[in-house]
Symmetry: C2
Subunit: 298 residues, 2 copies
């Protein structure tokens, strides 16, 4: 990862932390061995953990402490992992490779993959609902509201549905943006908001700033994904290079061309950073993260 | 439905009520048309609504009012509907018929079925987390904890996983019971507990009584399902008669024989009714419901 040293340290600290939290949560599942194995396979030791980093980043921007943000960080990553398992299924994107290893339905089987995804979604809500001295019931309930609304039919799943329907037919830029605001944007926005609610006393103005920041980086993240699908190789991507083109998907690159897609991503990065002008140096990591999203190579 | 008049009226009143609540919730999904259609197809105008009836029944046994139990009743039925969609998928039980009509993946397609199930699970949590003047944040959080733990790897999904793995190999009575305590029992128990938490001031003793009641009727319900798979016809079942035998599934009937399975179901009904001795006449509906579960013909 080619990120500035401060961000690099923060990333690594978040990654270690979330790995331990997720590992603990999955260990507590005492049902079927293969189900727990599949859940662990999908969640542990993989991925950039950008969503947990956003949770911890928003928490830090408000002067919170990391421990209070652990449940929210785990919840968004559990939700992300479940969505990847289901997206990879043969009936959906039919991807055999994920994060450089066999996708869950290939490593296990389709039934286990469907069930592991289902169980990870439940676990995400369970983690947020767990008793925790440092967060009030009202706060935890607010986090659950934000997450449930971000991942359902009006959010992530709705976006995935648009994506399935859109394959093979040319979408407009507006339709593509609407799709990604739901499919990836909603959970990225929820990550920031859950992080904000894990610190004390976030104001409405701060929530609005965070939302704008999240919307910009969410879209920038997707544009960069589309760019990397064309410019990166399979080894760095951990999934087959050129799969969007192969699946006849409309992307920012197919609609705008490579150069214009790059400018749009960079413009969104600028907007994301501007959204944080009311914050002090505690938000520097979020600023760096915005820049990193469009400079990342994988 | 061949149930006593009082229970019959209560059932019909619960069914009308839950239909309206679910319909309202699904109308609020403004994402993809086909996704919303599939969610409505799976949830509306079908099923006996036994889980919502349990929610309303426990609420009534504690002198609560029905409106306070609406979110919990909706949540358990949404969860049940999602689990049926995913259980019917080709990679799971591969059932083409459900409640007398094509299962969701046949009426729509597999991708939509997976996504509709996913969205219904999220919606169940969203409904419980929604702001409601009559329930405190602590109560709603407790309900979410109970539901999340009932449907995840340590509950319903864990049970479905055991069921998938068990197909084709002879299970012991103990293993079968463990499977059903998770697969169907956990959500039935959660229904009673969510109903209990929707009324004011449920005591620990009352919760323990309800749990025992729920565990007995949960198992009795499954045994009756196994009996009906052998004795009822496809039209009353709304799914192919004899499908357990066809799928080489171990059932209470295959392990105990028809007569002994009937005695066990009836014994559990007695235990369920005994569990409610500390309750007055407000719990009569739950008592009648216990008896109905093993006398139902579909």
């Amino acid at each position: 990862m080619d990120s500035p040293p401060q961000l690099q340290n923060f990333f690594e600290s978040c990654q270690r932390r979330i790995e331990a939290v997720l590992s603990d949560e999955i260990k507590q599942c005492d049902a079927s061995h293969s189900l727990r194995e599949a859940m662990a396979y999908a969640c542990l030791d993989g991925g950039k953990r950008i969503r947990p980093v956003l949770v911890y980043g928003a928490n830090r921007a408000l002067g919170g402490n990391m421990a209070d943000a652990d449940p929210a960080a785990a919840a968004v990553e559990l939700m992300h992992s479940y969505s990847l398992i289901h997206d990879d299924l043969p009936a959906m994107d039919d991807d055999d490779l994920r994060r450089g290893k066999a996708s869950v339905h290939k490593a296990f089987d389709e039934a286990i993959a469907i069930l592991a995804g289902d169980a990870l979604q439940s676990l995400a809500f369970a983690v947020l609902a767990e008793t925790c001295r440092s967060r009030t019931a009202v706060t935890r309930l607010k986090q659950i509201q934000v997450l449930a609304s971000a991942v359902g039919a009006n959010g992530m799943v709705g976006g995935q549905c648009l994506d399935c329907c859109a394959t093979g037919s040319e979408a407009s830029l507006q339709a593509l943006e609407a799709l990604h605001r739901l499919k990836t944007g909603a959970l990225i926005r929820a990550s920031i908001l859950l992080g904000a609610h894990s610190a004390d006393g976030v104001s409405d103005q701060q929530l609005a700033d965070f939302q704008l920041y999240a919307d910009c980086i969410g879209l920038a993240f997707q544009i960069q994904d589309d760019i990397l699908d064309v410019t990166a190789d399979t080894a760095s991507l951990g999934k087959p290079q050129g799969s969007d083109q192969h699946n006849d998907k409309t992307t920012y690159v197919s609609l705008l061309g490579l150069e214009q897609a790059k400018s749009k991503a960079s413009e969104l990065t600028g907007q994301a950073i501007s959204a944080l002008t009311h914050f002090g140096s505690e938000a520097d990591l979020l600023r760096e993260l915005a820049a990193f999203i469009t400079s990342r190579a994988s």
